[in-house]
Symmetry: D2
Subunit: 273 residues, 4 copies
């Protein structure tokens, strides 16, 4: 347990939020502390409101993410230490990786990104396939992968990325949370099949894949990923893209960052009517 510089005791969850803090961060394991590197003077003034098992956090003013009290983050690597206290980064890292020939899947990716952003404390990389590297996949905790529906299957370029770029990293990236999205030329044109092929690749890499049970509107959902016909123009289709991104960020927050408050099962959701 750490105290602030003034020696104040840490808050407890449910207590009032300390000034400058934007939320309460659950923290996993004290034991992981030994894996943390020192941060030095970067955070001399950090608000040291900590409590056993968690901490209050605030945004890093330099835009490098969220930081928290130094109890631990999972896998330790993101844990940063201040002068008088420890801070743990707890931000879930989400990659949205897409290939797009016409801009339709790219537009879906933006909408998925909007959904991811609804969950505070999530760091996002939105990557066109042409700019993506294996490091992006290593970096992320969860990923949404989008491709145009080409002959009912992911595009050959997206496949090449996983075959060639990621092939040497197979067995080294297991355990991420993953989902899919795709735009096809027509309803019934294979977009769910293309999502299936993406999920097939993602499962092969040891990822845990999911679809969304909730409805994004009266007649639209994303049970096997978000789908669109050409440009995602319809409000419900856009909502389904956002819902997919939001759910991805929620699973990452809950399962990887261990933030119980983001468990989607505890939130209101829209069922089929």
């Amino acid at each position: 347990m750490v105290f602030d510089r003034a020696g104040n005791p840490p808050p407890r969850a449910g207590q009032e939020r300390p000034p400058g803090c934007s939320g309460f961060c659950t923290v996993a394991a004290a034991g992981a502390l030994t894996r943390v590197g020192p941060v030095g003077d970067d955070f001399p003034d950090w608000l040291l409101q900590a409590t056993a098992g968690g901490c209050w956090f605030r945004l890093d003013p330099r835009g490098r993410g969220f930081f928290g009290i130094g109890l631990s983050g999972r896998w330790g690597g993101r844990l940063l230490i201040g002068e008088d206290c420890e801070e743990a980064e707890t931000m879930g890292k989400v990659l949205i990786l897409y290939d797009s020939a016409t801009g339709n899947t790219a537009r879906m990716a933006e909408l998925v990104a909007e959904g991811v952003s609804e969950i505070a404390g999530t760091e996002l990389r939105l990557r066109d396939l042409a700019a993506a590297t294996a490091d992006d996949v290593h970096w992320c905790d969860g990923l949404a992968v989008g491709s145009p529906t080409n002959m009912g299957v992911l595009s050959w370029k997206m496949k090449r990325f996983w075959d060639e770029t990621m092939g040497p990293h197979w067995m080294k990236v297991d355990g991420k949370i993953a989902c899919a999205f795709s735009s096809s030329g027509g309803w019934g044109g294979g977009s769910e099949m293309a999502c299936l092929s993406l999920l097939t690749v993602l499962i092969n890499f040891g990822f845990l894949v999911f679809g969304v049970t909730d409805y994004a509107g009266k007649l639209t959902t994303a049970h096997y990923g978000a789908i669109a016909v050409r440009q995602p123009r319809e409000e419900e289709v856009q909502a389904a893209c956002r819902l997919l991104g939001r759910r991805l960020a929620e699973w990452v927050a809950l399962l990887i960052d261990r933030r119980d408050e983001e468990n989607p099962c505890s939130k209101p959701r829209r069922a089929v009517e």
Copy 2:
């Protein structure tokens, strides 16, 4: 941070295990305490053997589950306190649900169960479909579902379970970790396709599904679930079943129970040769 009655400092992970405790439990959020049901006089002495971010635990001698220090377990509700020492629920709950016409899939289920048991701190229910209830699914944190390969798809009885028994529980069981296994009449006989149909159902329920990247032997793996031809007699096939169960328990331990030490990515694994 809490201290024991004698004022002893809490153990740290890696320290010696206190008497009566069976393991170290990582704990998520102090804040979750408020979600814990009233404990009342049952646990007057609970402030013991704790450490920030976790606690040592032991089995509840009253058989009511695992109990832990009042930091929190996930979803809080299971948190209870023992007499002299605190126990946190850490047990991952794994359901193995199978339908079997000839006994072959039942035999696979036993092997999967053996794999689950390799991960300490995992509670297991092995359920023949005929005896399974919706409560079994609600209960579990992760599940492996097995079916004979019937016409390349899960058996109609297994499908009926998810359509009829579980249908009313749809949207109420999201977020579990799930995988599949199946026995067919021959190599090339559709066992992977049957696993795919199982995964399709499981994704529909909002579960996060996975396959195993590792090899169980020189020529056998379980990338989309464990498969067998008829009776799982071959050593490698048996190993693949165990591997699937073990991986399921590992993901549950890591992602649901937040036991970093069970992260399979940190363990030696067998790659393709």
Copy 3:
């Protein structure tokens, strides 16, 4: 080559239709004659209106099907002769088999049936699952199978039909032409996945399965079967159902009944725009 009783030469395709005949039937193999069951006295006058490689036909007035000249129909068994004129069975037999809980898939089935009916010379059985028998499957040359999308997979009742009712007939019905259709609760709700599970079952039975390349409207097709959200109300969705049925009847006409004129590749079709 055979001549009529009066010694008239046979008609050629393109010639005027003989009285009492309703169409020109292409006939496959004279050699197949030997496989035809004994006709006996029922058809004493059968050597009429024939031409090498085909014959004029008419409906059997006794309601026993189509009858034709003694050249042969495929598999011979259906060859029968009328009184004054020979008739060859040319009718493709199409089964539409559906399960429907809410009436939505049943409505799709009707639309598929409308499409089948667009191809003259196709006999149709529209069967609710509750009334279907193994004989229906044996009877047909091609079949469209529809199911509600239940958890992304065909309904358990439809699966039970193929597991239990058809199981004993496996290996006895190979070579039929087959396709799928399904209604789900929402776009993105798994209807293509359900079609995939239907196709998986149909492939297992040795059928040749297909989807439709053509577009049924500006934004709708049926690449893996026809899909609908709930009631198929939208004009394009209805058109896709009809298109699927029509294509099924066309493939049956071309591939099974060997009616070149029904080759869909020779007809105008609507491509993606």
Copy 4:
């Protein structure tokens, strides 16, 4: 009806085979004759054993395929006419198209080719992807497509072929008979899933896809295509490859070339034991 130059009457099926002829060819429609172009003196000595609805045929000694009596071939275009008689080409054209990184899938392709060759009267092209063109696909009546199992899906190179090379030919090649095969790194390694992705592409192109019901050995079949683990060394795996090729040639012979005698349903087959 045509006669040979010596004025001999045509044989009937079931009659003895005329000298120089290797089989009996069923012919579809006299009416199609009008679509046939003249061949002139190319085949002056052709054996003119014809009968209504079919003809005896022999191999073209110049290696240009099979030729038969001039009643008709389907789609007419292959029909060639001799001086005194007509000859129809009736040969089924089968393409085996494969991508192979290690030689394993290439070896499977050879075995599939062996199976194709078991059905007399089938013309075969065995094409490595690197040498394949869109013309190969246009040319064939049926095709078997093989790919290594890469991340559970066809290889990116094979996908590129269908996306890029064949994309412009979409809607122009419907109606071919197609199947799949794949070699993976291990049992349970996704080879059926890779076949599924191949079938998904093939269905998208309007092909009719199939698997084999028969068993190739006691414990091996090819319900969704032929699969192998690495090099197809096991006798049963090799038999399954051959069985797939044979079945492809049989369906092409029956459905496209209308040779009833090649209907696999009329032949002895090996069921599951």
